[in-house]
Each structure stands twice: as structure tokens, then as C-alpha cells.
């Protein structure tokens, strides 16, 4: 069964309105799969994962998203998180004065409470995070530092994957986690992400580089262009993109009438 099913998703910036950024995204992710989305800057990759996470700055104008049998678009961001969706941010936000441990404990307990589990006390929480810290080769002092404040770019990204490992989501959305990471950090982060793979779970990776996909092997690679997914292939597609760029894909689909028909036909396919 599909864990995530996105159909003809359109979205735009909520405050200014204007043109859609997402112009009909179709995407199906089954449990156990890893998908990667690649594409040029401004093609809508980051917007897609943020819309999936429920960012209110974007307004969905059309389309439908089903996650684990539920209408995802009806849920608020915090409800989505509690249902097992997680977004590793491209630009993690600083929260001055709030320690990472306090923040993460609040997150874990909010999710546990939602599931009807007892909230973790300080000791149990510490036990939970210790393993994950080792996994991501993070120093204990991380926990006492304010969330992302004064963190280097690499530390911020590592912190995202650390949080992801602690929360253990069913659907992990990773937004350009590899940008700004050196090769060692990339390995550590990939290891963290791989530890989250499982038959019940799925990962959606947004990236510019094929390099990350050497470490986290995807089942499918999608190419996004101007707010739509225009091509889907296996992991070899990422290699091809790395060498050939995106222009050839643009040329391939530069028959507007045909594109419209294909996407029409696709959305008509019975689920």
C-alpha cells in the first residue's frame, strides 16, 4: 500500500498569492522505499517538502495528498509530525535560549502523548538520545547548547538527522541535507538516515547532487521541473543527470501539448 500519495498538487505562496509554484505534482511512495527528487534551483523541490510538512506560508490551491490512509492536507504541521512525518530542514532555524535537549524532549513527548504512550522522564530520554548521539558522532555538549545557535553549517545538518533518528519517523523528508557537508560528515549523516530505513518506513530526499545517493541508495529518482515531476527513473538517472545536466530533459519535454496530455492521462489513472 502506498504510504504517501500525492495527486495533482498545486500550491503557491499564501500571502502574496500569484502564480502557483507547484503546478500539479504526482508522486506515490510505498512503505520501504527511498525516493530522491532532483532538479534545478527554483523548480519547486523545497516547496514540495514544506507543503507536505504543512507550512502555512504556502497555500494548496488544488490537489490531494493521502498519507497512511489519511487526508494529509487536513492536518496541521504538528499533527503531521505526531503522525510520523518528519522534515529535515535545508536551513535549520536557531531558537536562542532553548536548549537542544529541552526542545527535543518536548518534541518526543508530544509525539508519545499523541500515541497514547507515557511521556519520557529525564533519565529515559537521556538513554534514548545517547545511542543516537553516538550514531551521529555528536558530542554530549550538543544537548546543552541552544537549538542550532552558533552551530556550523555541518553541525546544523547533523542535528537535523540526529533529531530525525530520535523521533524515528515513518516518512522522513530530507531537504538538501547534503549541502554544506564535507565528505566525512556526509557519510555520518547518510549512516544516520540509512539506520531509519525499514519495511514500514519511507524516505524522500531532495538533493542537487548524486553523491548523497551513493550512500543512501534510492529506489526511484524523480526530476522536478517548473513545479512538476517530469521524469522518473532508477538510481542510474541520478548518474546521468550528474554528467548531462538538466537541459536534455527540458528539451525532451518541450512539446507543451504533449506534456499536458501526459499529465492529464496520468492523473486519470485509477489508484
Amino acid at each position: 500500500m502506498a504510504l504517501l500519495e500525492v495527486q495533482n498538487l498545486h500550491a503557491r505562496v499564501a500571502t502574496t498569492g500569484g502564480r502557483d509554484i507547484l503546478k500539479g505534482v504526482d508522486l506515490t511512495i510505498r512503505a520501504g522505499e527511498v525516493h530522491a527528487i532532483m532538479g534545478k534551483n527554483g523548480s519547486g523541490k523545497s516547496t514540495l517538502v514544506q507543503v507536505l510538512m504543512g507550512r502555512e506560508a504556502y497555500e494548496v490551491t488544488q490537489g490531494y495528498v493521502r498519507y497512511d490512509g489519511k487526508d494529509l492536507l487536513q492536518l496541521s504541521a504538528e499533527e503531521r509530525a505526531r503522525e510520523g512525518v518528519f522534515l529535515a530542514f535545508q536551513y535549520p532555524v536557531e531558537i536562542p535560549g532553548v536548549s537542544t535537549s529541552y526542545f527535543l524532549k518536548a518534541a518526543v513527548n508530544a509525539i508519545r502523548k499523541h500515541r497514547g504512550e507515557t511521556e519520557l522522564d529525564a533519565m529515559d530520554f537521556l538513554k534514548l538520545v545517547k545511542d543516537k548521539m553516538n550514531l551521529l558522532k555528536m558530542d554530549q555538549s550538543f544537548m546543552n547548547r541552544a537549538v542550532n545557535e552558533g552551530f556550523s553549517g555541518g553541525e546544523k545538518k547533523r542535528n537535523e538527522i540526529f533529531q530525525m533518528a530520535v523521533v524515528n519517523p515513518r516518512l522522513a523528508l530530507m531537504d538538501e541535507t547534503d549541502s554544506g557537508l564535507d565528505i566525512d560528515a556526509l557519510k555520518v549523516v547518510s549512516q544516520g538516515a540509512n539506520s531509519l530505513r525499514g519495511p514500514e518506513k519511507a524516505i524522500l530526499i531532495v538533493t542537487h547532487y548524486q553523491r548523497l545517493l551513493n550512500y543512501i541508495e534510492p529506489n526511484f529518482v524523480h526530476v522536478m521541473l517548473d513545479g512538476r515531476i517530469v521524469k522518473t527513473g532508477g538510481k542510474e538517472l541520478a548518474v546521468e543527470l550528474e554528467t548531462r545536466g538538466y537541459d536534455w530533459i527540458e528539451k525532451e519535454i518541450q512539446q507543451p501539448v504533449l506534456t499536458a496530455q501526459t499529465s492529464f492521462a496520468r492523473s486519470e489513472t485509477p489508484r
Partner: protein, 451 residues
Amino acid sequence: MYDCSKEVLGYHNEEVTLLQKERDEMRQRRDTNRIRVKAGLVENNDPKPREFASQGSYAMKTMTQHPEKDYDIDDGIYFDMDDLKKDDGTDMSALESRQMVRNGVDDGSFKKKLEEKGVIFCSISEAVQKHPELVKKYMGSVVPYADNKHACLNSGVFTDGSFVYIPKGVRCPMELSTYFRINASETGQFERTLIIADEGAYVSYLEGCTAPMRDENQLHAAVVELVALERSTIKYSTVQNWYPGDKQGKGGIYNFVTKRGACRGANSKITWTQVETGSAITWKYPSCILQGDNSVGEFYSVALTNNYQQADTGTKMIHIGKNTKSTIVSKGISAGHGQNTYRGLVRIQPKAANSRNYTQCDSLLLGDKCGAHTTPYIDVRNTSSKVEHEASTSKIGEDQLFYCKSRGISLEDSVNMIVNGFCKEVFRELPMEFAVEAQKLLGVSLEGSVG
């Protein structure tokens, strides 16, 4: 290899772990205390505790010796939540519950402990009778009656207040606290506080305020005077939670308070820490006159305005002595239609050579109908001093909220968390239990302000 485990064990038993005799004594004291608080609660017609339980190092059997016998026993008292009600049937706050227990424990022995050290802690009316020389010498010496119209009104009509005197070289053995409440409607409250720390003395003083809901406005025009003599330190902390008026801005306290401290002696220090969440209108500028050479003045403030509250608060640091130092950290939070102003003066007099001031003013806005204003005055009259001013205004970021929410944290908890983080530098200055109280208070004051 030489086996030294016997020596180590012996040393551990003799020098490290607390001796059985001392542990027994401590247990005895704990039991006496339990009897005392039970009796006190009965006498005050307060609820009966459900049980007691030891906590901390005693409970964990990890008590160690201390050269100055500085160890204690942590004891917990438990009540049924349903019992913790006020006279009007509503729930007691955490602070009120603690106040109740504290009153229960107090059978006059606190006073004895203070008396042993020579500390005077009483009402102004009592001080006038018993210590007229101190009252005559110091009252009005920091805030003269003609200082401003509210101080003048207070000086004319005040009936009572608190008086503290810490004698030479004495470190006050406990934190002193007073709690003010305005009950009557359509009234004014004009209390006066006078605190004197003699040479080398130390005192930490806490002030809490609360008032029930009234449709009419009430006036609070207090005067607080602090006098710090040579090498002494006064820490004055306030959690102000006067009734702020309703959502439409009806009712609430007008809080027009004159607070000022004089660092009279060399190397003296005065620290003001305030958390202002209540009152319809607050005008309050706890200030320091740094007369003594090397004296230090500090001001840490969190002011929160929601609905139609207005807070105009800040400090004055008047540098007169040489090498004087002052630090100002002000955090203003505005929500709803609240208006928050930081108004401060840093004056460095010609003779205050090598003086320093550091000012940091941060404002946080929640919503688009509130305001934050900063009016710093800086007046430096010599060339050897250094003054720094940093200011920032930020809106609580949509990106910060989204980040928290994407982790499953509710909107309200996210706002609380971000606001508390914003205030961390100030809360750090508060005594432990006040800091906890202040955090909760911010949460309550912000309820319904976002979303």
C-alpha cells in the same frame, strides 16, 4: 602492588560520607519540621498534607561531609490537588501553595534566626517605633518626597511597608520576601520599602505582587529605596503580576512605582531583576546611583504586554564614582495590542573616570497590532569611559514556529518555548523558584495571544 583499598575505604568513611550521628540529627530535625508545618497548617486553617517524602541526597543516601557543615535535607510535602483552593474556590498558583506551606512552617523561628544575625526585617511602622535612628537617617535619602508626583503622593499618604537592615559583614541567612496584594476596589496602594545593607553585608530580597480582577482601575504608587554601603550587595527581584485588565483593556492596575538604589560605598553592588507581566499601565524605572568608587549597578528586565497593556519601563544608571560599572539587559515582549517601551538613561559624570556601561535591549513582537519602542538616553561627560548599546527588534518568526511545529510541538507550546528562550538571560538572574514561577507566568499571560 600495595593494596590501599583499606585506607581508601577508611578515609571514605571518616572524611567523605556523612557520619551516622549527623544523619540521625538531621532526620530528627526533619521530623520536627514536619510536626511544625502540620501544626502550622492546622492553625492557619489550611489543607492537610497527604504525605511527606524525603528527596535529594538524603533520599539517595549520597550525603557527604562539608567543612562548614553546609548540608541539609530535602523534604517534600504532598497535597491533594483538589485541596489546594483559595477562599473563592479557584486553584492556588504554585507560588501561593508554597507561600501557604512557608506560612505553616513559620512559627517565629525564622525571625529568631534573623535576629541572631542582627538582621532587622519588619514593617515600616514597627521600624519607626524600634529603630527610629535608621529610619530617620535613610528614609527619603534616595527618593526625596519632591522627586516626582507619584513619589510625592506616596510620601504624603503611605501607611506602611517593609523595612530591612543587614548589619556590618552579615550575609543574610535566607532570602527575604514580601508579597503584596490589592484587595479593595477603587483604591490606591502606597507602600514603601527601605532596605539598608551595611558595610560588607549581603541580602537578596524578593517581591511578588498580585491583585484580583476588578472592572475599575486601581492605583499602585510605591516607593522602594535601597542603600548599599561599602562592599555590600543588594539583590532585589520582582515578579509583578498585578491585574492587567480584561481583553478589551477594561480595569487593571496603574503601576506607577519609584524604585531607586544608591551604591553609597566603594565596591558596593545593586542588582534589580524584574519580571513585569501584569498591570494595565506600568511606569517603572528601577535605578542605581553609583556613588562609591568601583560600585556596580545591574538591571535585568522582562516586560510582557498583552491585550491593551502598556509598559514603559527601564532604568537609570548614574555613574558618579570612579571605575563604576553598569549592565542593562532589557527584554520586551508585546502581544495583542500591547505597547512596550524601554526608556533608559545612562549618565556618566565628569569625575566617573574609567566607567563602563553595557546595554542590551531586545524586543519581541507577537502579532501585527502590538508595538515596541526604545528610548535610550546616553549622556557621557568624560573621555575615559566606555558605553555600549545594543538593540534588536524581532518578530517571532514564522520559520521558528514552523520548525517547532514540524517536530510535533503545539503552537502554544512553541510560542512559550521561544519566548522563554528569549528571556533566558534575565531568568538566569532570578532565584530558582522565582524563575520557574516567571516562566509559567509568561505562559499564562500569553494565553490566546497567537493563532
